[in-house]
Symmetry: C2
Subunit: 333 residues, 2 copies
């Protein structure tokens, strides 16, 4: 295992224990089980890992940011549960989604209670971190609430983009910032707050999180076309088959000549595409360099994120955050 994976595994174990403890008193039993289910199903816990690392980067200890990390992971889990209902996705982390394993009402409720618990836990930040001021706790909550608003807006924008192939690059990037980037940026920001960073470092680390969050989402779309079915857990080109808007699609539609544009649009809009059709679109993406274009944008974000870290003193946390920036566009799943 590489360093990043080892570090994430270590922090995931701390966060998981804390989540278990904080959800253990939910009643009735069904709601408790549905709420804890996705945490037990695994997951990289990238976001709380980032929270613990940025806290250490600015001179705090890992334990100072545990409550903040738990809050972020619970918000992430809540959004996965509700998104899976909205998007009708039946599998999550290799297991039936919460609304499939139980039912929609309990899935809605378990998302809602995780949301509530996230705020309750963030409010208890002083318990694990007596040095933190009340204002720092308020700023932590503000950051979380702001990211939640953005997540909702991002998901609504994403749904509104379905079947709308007029979306421009800026609108697309704004959508993925809200849907994915904002929570990762919140994760790195509240770690810095828990570690006692000054305002400048806090906003720098928000920017770091935003950049790797954007790169993370663009890489997700890139993997859909370049990975293999076994690593990905779904067929290559699923996004094309589902007619999903990605940076690659946006770019290809902007560059393509009329004939190629019509071909891409026809296949994206069609249901039940053949493998030949998916290949045809992939070839057009390659013809216009759109896969490479997206990959380059993700790489630029990662480079910028790493540059941001150069202002901080060398430490194990800094080294890991540098590697994590590469990791978000290096991973194959």
């Amino acid at each position: 295992m590489d360093d990043v994976t080892v570090t994430l595994k270590k922090s995931a174990s701390i966060i998981k224990d804390e989540i278990d403890a904080s959800l253990s008193n939910i009643i009735p039993q069904d709601l408790k089980n549905a709420s804890i289910y996705l945490t037990n199903a695994g997951g990289k816990m990238l976001r709380p890992g980032l929270t613990l690392l940025t806290c250490q980067l600015v001179g705090g200890s890992e334990s100072d940011a545990v409550k903040s990390g738990v809050a972020i992971e619970l918000i992430h889990t809540f959004s996965l549960i509700h998104d899976d209902i909205m998007d009708d996705d039946e599998v999550r982390r290799g297991q039936p989604a919460v609304h499939v394993k139980w039912d929609e009402p309990l899935a809605i409720l378990s998302g809602d209670i995780l949301f509530s618990k996230a705020f309750e836990i963030a409010l208890s930040l002083k318990e694990s971190n007596p040095n933190v001021s009340s204002d720092a706790v308020l700023e932590t909550l503000n950051t979380i609430a702001d990211s939640c608003i953005k997540i909702c807006e991002g998901q609504a924008l994403d749904m509104s983009f379905e079947g709308n192939f007029e979306v421009c690059e800026d609108d697309y990037l704004d959508m993925i910032f809200k849907k994915t980037g904002a929570l990762i940026a919140a994760a790195t920001k509240i770690g810095a707050i828990a570690g006692g960073a000054d305002l400048n470092d806090i906003s720098t680390l928000y920017e770091y999180g935003k950049l790797i969050g954007l790169a993370f989402q663009i890489h997700d779309d890139y993997l859909d076309l370049t990975s293999d079915e076994e690593s990905l857990g779904k067929p290559i080109g699923s996004d094309i088959a589902e007619g999903k808007m990605t940076l690659i699609v946006v770019n290809a539609l902007e560059k393509a000549n009329d004939e190629d544009k019509q071909t891409i649009l026809k296949i994206l809009k069609e249901e039940n595409n053949s493998l030949e059709q998916i290949d045809q679109v992939m070839n057009l993406f390659n013809k216009y360099g759109s896969i490479e274009y997206a990959s380059n944008i993700a790489q630029t974000y990662v480079n910028d994120a790493k540059k941001i870290l150069s202002n901080f003193e060398d430490s194990y946390a800094k080294e890991t955050l540098l590697k994590l920036a590469d990791y978000v566009i290096g991973r194959s799943t």
Copy 2:
């Protein structure tokens, strides 16, 4: 119009303006429209009305608690939107429910964003109330988060009671406290916090809210059997037809002889009850004094709530809160 109605109308207008302003920047348009819809559809705004009144009771001004009141109303609205999806209720405030007017995904999201906005607005409490301390803001948020957790648990308990006629009175009262009482108690408590009350008054006013919240819910069940179809907007005895657990049912099942118990259970469990069957159950409720029993319990809660207020100095706010306690069990809709 009576004093209580006049006071609630006045505070509702202040709260509604503030809600409009705080939701006006939501994007995309669809999500904004779905989020603001129920607020525009009317509603008594009892909860924020209570928040403004308890703030004034302890010496604060109405404007000190506006942000707190808005937060509570948004939490209430979020829970209505999600409950309507879960309970498959198609009408709310005389209009199509959000998931009917739009669709389920947008209804889930609009609930989620109202939830997030509630926390954002509560976090901005100092903007309208510069005297409030950071710790008081934290305590406000803690109170709101706690009530949200209870609302989720209450709804899950309510759903788990469906078809379970073994529920005892204590379990039933615990469920309605969580589902309805906790948010009303939070409303009165955070008003007191915004008004600068001491810890003793804050907890006293939580208790006042809890008591009238319980009375409010029991009166709802009472109205289902004693009101008229026009005032209620649904047929009398709907709860019997739906086999819903109420304090009246719990009490009748505890007191009834075996034969009567079997009759009640049979009709509650059956779908598509005839009017004769509903009358038969009503007669059995009357035979065992269960309607009166529930009404007496609600009256006791109201008396206790009013007694609690005797420790406060006379004021318009106190007078209105006394009347409000009577109002929750005097209303016909």
